[in-house]
């Protein structure tokens, strides 16, 4: 029998209840904001308008910060044990409503339901559980009373893992006694606003979590607010640098988690079939909208042709389409703007002389889509080998020796993650030791755990999220 097509298996949207427009969540409730400026938030897979969110202005930011200040007086005096209970409650509620969150995340952000359901939401809950456990053990871990929360933390998160980045930021901040003003990305605010409902449901004290929507202007207002004690930002290196400039000379804590251009090094003695899988997962996971994506494939010359042939064949089986179809592997590109950026860089790659391979797949009519793409014959000088594309585009470079592999891998302004593929344990250790990257995965890629710190070298940022180190980002030595 030929042409066995999988029938559509679409997750129902009925479970989510999206409002026509949203208000900011300040001081424990949704409040009418001062700003009258609304923008549409759309589904990138259909371009259908899902709702309207407000672009918060100076007054709105001020209200949120004030609320967080009041919240801080209560929260920092709440016993660690009570804080822990609140976080556990949030974790359990996330699990209870995870399907609702997963569907909403896929509708608003374009990622396949397979990932929002099996990766994002379990990780979100795991982060709350993990930091809930820390909340009443912090004193024990670093010697009593030497560390204090910063106070009001401004958190600005990206659109690639909207709810997961919220969890990475909110859970450790709350566990350590801080209160937060969080701004989700303007294209993906809906799950954060649903999380706000959860905070109400969990009975979290007013003002501990404040969520305001807006674009870069709102983000800038948060960064520059006089009563902010710390900023935690995940996003582009360009914006990260602006934030660091704004904060220069001020007593405001800062952690930045920025871009990446990770090398995924495949040695000739790797388990090739599993390396192919890992490379596919490394770059096509979440449409390549991953700061730690393995976007530079470094192949040992001796296996280049065999590996590329297997990789192209495997890429051809990737199913691109409706994010809510349970059989979709690659969903929609998050926004028109991002699609333009990807297209621009890919065109540059072709005109530079790179050899392009794209899978044969039908793309839906509406929405923003990009075919899984592989470049070979690429030189380290090409922009596709240097700039973060943040899309489903993999660039292949070759090397001859382990020394050369490490040199090429480190020949970038970024240093967030890297991958090493070989069956030889000593070679893994030798390579990992020399890679300037915050995370090095060996014979796997894109694995996360709340207990494992994550963060960058060089222009990929500073500060760590996750684990014991992640707590330190939200604590400061008592003066």
């Amino acid at each position: 029998m030929v042409n066995w097509e999988y029938s559509e298996s679409v997750e129902s949207q009925e479970i989510v209840n999206i409002k026509d427009k949203y208000q900011n969540f300040i001081n424990g409730k949704f409040q009418q904001q001062n700003s009258k400026k609304y923008i549409n938030t759309i589904s990138p897979s259909t371009e259908e308008v899902l709702s309207k969110i407000v672009i918060s202005n100076e007054k709105d930011v001020d209200n949120a910060v004030q609320s967080a200040q009041l919240g801080f007086e209560k929260w920092s005096n709440t016993s660690p044990h009570e804080r822990s209970k609140h976080l556990f409650k949030l974790a359990r509620l996330i699990q209870e409503r995870s399907r609702e969150f997963a569907v909403l995340e896929s509708m608003d952000g374009g990622k396949p339901i397979k990932e929002s359901r099996d990766f994002d939401l379990p990780q979100v809950a795991a982060n709350f559980f993990y930091f809930a456990g820390w909340a009443d053990k912090i004193d024990l871990s670093w010697g009593a009373k030497s560390l204090k929360p910063h106070g009001v933390v401004g958190q600005i998160i990206p659109w690639n893992f909207p709810l997961l980045m919220l969890a990475w930021k909110v859970a450790p901040a709350l566990a350590t006694g801080n209160t937060v003003v969080l701004k989700p990305a303007e294209t993906t605010s809906l799950t954060a606003l649903l999380f706000a409902e959860l905070c109400e449901q969990a009975g979290l004290p007013d003002g501990v979590v404040n969520i305001i929507t807006g674009d870069g202007t709102t983000g800038s207002l948060i960064v520059n607010h006089k009563d902010i004690n710390k900023i935690a930002f995940t996003g582009s290196t360009q914006v990260g640098k602006l934030i660091q400039k704004s904060l220069a000379g001020r007593d405001v804590g800062l952690t930045l988690e920025l871009g990446g251009k990770a090398a995924n090094i495949v040695y000739e003695d790797a388990a090739i079939d599993q390396a192919v899988e890992g490379v596919v997962n490394g770059i096509f996971f979440n449409q390549g909208h991953v700061c730690c994506a393995g976007s530079r494939l470094l192949l040992q010359e001796s296996i280049h042709d065999e590996f590329v042939a297997k990789l192209e064949k495997r890429m051809q089986t990737l199913r691109v389409g409706n994010p809510l179809d349970k059989n979709t592997d690659i969903g929609a590109i998050n926004s028109k703007e991002q699609l333009n950026k990807i297209e621009g860089l890919v065109n540059e790659g072709v005109s530079d002389g790179g050899k392009i391979f794209q899978t044969e797949c039908e793309l839906p009519g509406n929405g923003f889509w990009f075919k899984p793409t592989l470049f070979t014959d690429v030189q380290p000088s090409y922009s596709i080998a240097r700039e973060e594309i943040f899309g489903p585009v993999l660039t292949t470079l070759t090397f001859r020796t382990p020394q050369e592999a490490v040199e090429i891998a480190n020949n970038t302004e970024y240093g967030l993650s890297a991958g090493v593929w070989t069956e030889k344990g000593s070679k893994i250790l030798w390579t990992a030791d020399r890679l300037q990257a915050g995370v090095v995965w060996a014979n796997t890629f894109n694995k996360f755990d709340p207990s494992s710190p994550f963060g960058g070298y060089k222009e990929s940022g500073f500060g760590r999220e996750g684990g014991r180190q992640g707590l330190l980002s939200y604590l400061k030595a008592e003066s």
């Binding site: 029998m1 066995w4 097509e5 029938s7 388990a271 390396a275």
Partner: protein
């Protein structure tokens, strides 16, 4: 090129190189196989899959208690799996011991159902080569269309790969044009590397099919083992141009599991492998569950087992 000439044209050294180059990362492999199991097969694609499974079934009975009566029952079921739904065509084959081949052959008549015989002292294979050949020749002389042999696990685990290979070559020679399926018994081989090595050796020796298990161990087929074998078959095809088949057997009891095998084959090997000529299920209890699921898709209700005739 058929597999007989392939066996002659591939050098042992070439295969040995591929065999010693076997590197499999079990964590990565398990992850990939698990992710394939999350495919959601519904509606039309499910019905297509169920019908495909029926057409790929080797209905099997391999017991000391097998009699002419038992074989007759099974063959009747093989020819007409569900008398209440004649749209469902016959299964691929019935699989029996050599002494029952002539009876089975007589019963299948011209229905299109093939008769497969397990030979070479299935399931252990612990006899001299002469006995294995005799066993196999007896089954062929009795009219078997297909022969299922077991590899020499003793030789394999002792590292005597050449002996494993030579035995299969000799048995293939005895088979002539009769279809040869070589059972690796993955439950004995244990590691993924071993399964890959045994697959490559069996393919190089001229097997038309490689098969996971005898069904006589507590560990039968697994989707992981099937995945390893699929990759070996593909690599062998790259080397020789020959497309060999895979038979999974032992422990596949329900439709859901069987459909997951089809997804694995579809995505890893491509839909040209989705034919009884290249993929088979060895099963006894799987068929009834598939028939029940087909009924459910048509009528919306599950029927009790007694609506389906015994095999």
């Amino acid at each position: 090129m058929n597999n007989k000439t392939a066996a002659l044209s591939i050098k042992w050294e070439d295969i040995l190189e591929l065999v010693f180059d076997s590197r499999i990362d079990s964590v990565g492999l398990n992850e990939r196989v698990d992710s394939l199991a999350t495919r959601s097969i519904k509606k039309d694609s499910k019905l297509d899959a169920l019908n495909m499974i029926v057409s790929m079934c080797d209905l099997t009975t391999l017991e000391g208690e097998d009699t002419e009566g038992k074989i007759s029952q099974m063959v009747a079921k093989a020819i007409t799996p569900d008398p209440s739904n004649l749209d469902i065509k016959n299964v691929a084959a019935v699989c029996v011991y050599p002494s029952l081949v002539s009876i089975a052959k007589e019963k299948v008549g011209n229905s299109g159902v093939k008769v497969a015989a397990v030979s070479s002292y299935f399931p252990s294979g612990q006899v001299p080569m002469e006995s294995k050949l005799l066993d196999t020749k007896y089954a062929i002389d009795s009219g078997a269309d297909e022969i299922d042999i077991v590899i020499n696990r003793k030789a394999f685990l002792e590292g005597d790969y050449r002996k494993v290979y030579d035995e299969i070559v000799a048995l293939k020679e005895a088979c002539g044009d009769v279809h040869l399926k070589t059972i690796l018994e993955v439950g004995d081989l244990k590691t993924y590397e071993n399964i890959r090595k045994a697959s490559l050796i069996s393919l190089a020796a001229g097997s038309d099919f490689i098969k996971t298990s005898t069904g006589k161990l507590s560990v039968g087929s697994s989707r992981q083992a099937c995945y390893v074998m699929a990759k070996a078959v593909l690599d062998f095809k790259n080397l020789t141009g020959i497309s060999a088949g895979i038979k999974v057997a032992g422990g596949i009891r329900d439709s859901k599991d069987a459909i997951r095998y089809l997804v694995l084959i579809n995505e890893e090997m491509g839909d040209e492998w989705l034919t009884p000529d290249l993929f088979r299920f060895g099963a006894s209890s799987l068929l009834d569950d598939v028939l029940k699921q087909i009924k459910k898709l048509k009528t919306g209700a599950y029927q009790a087992s007694y609506y389906f005739p015994r095999g």
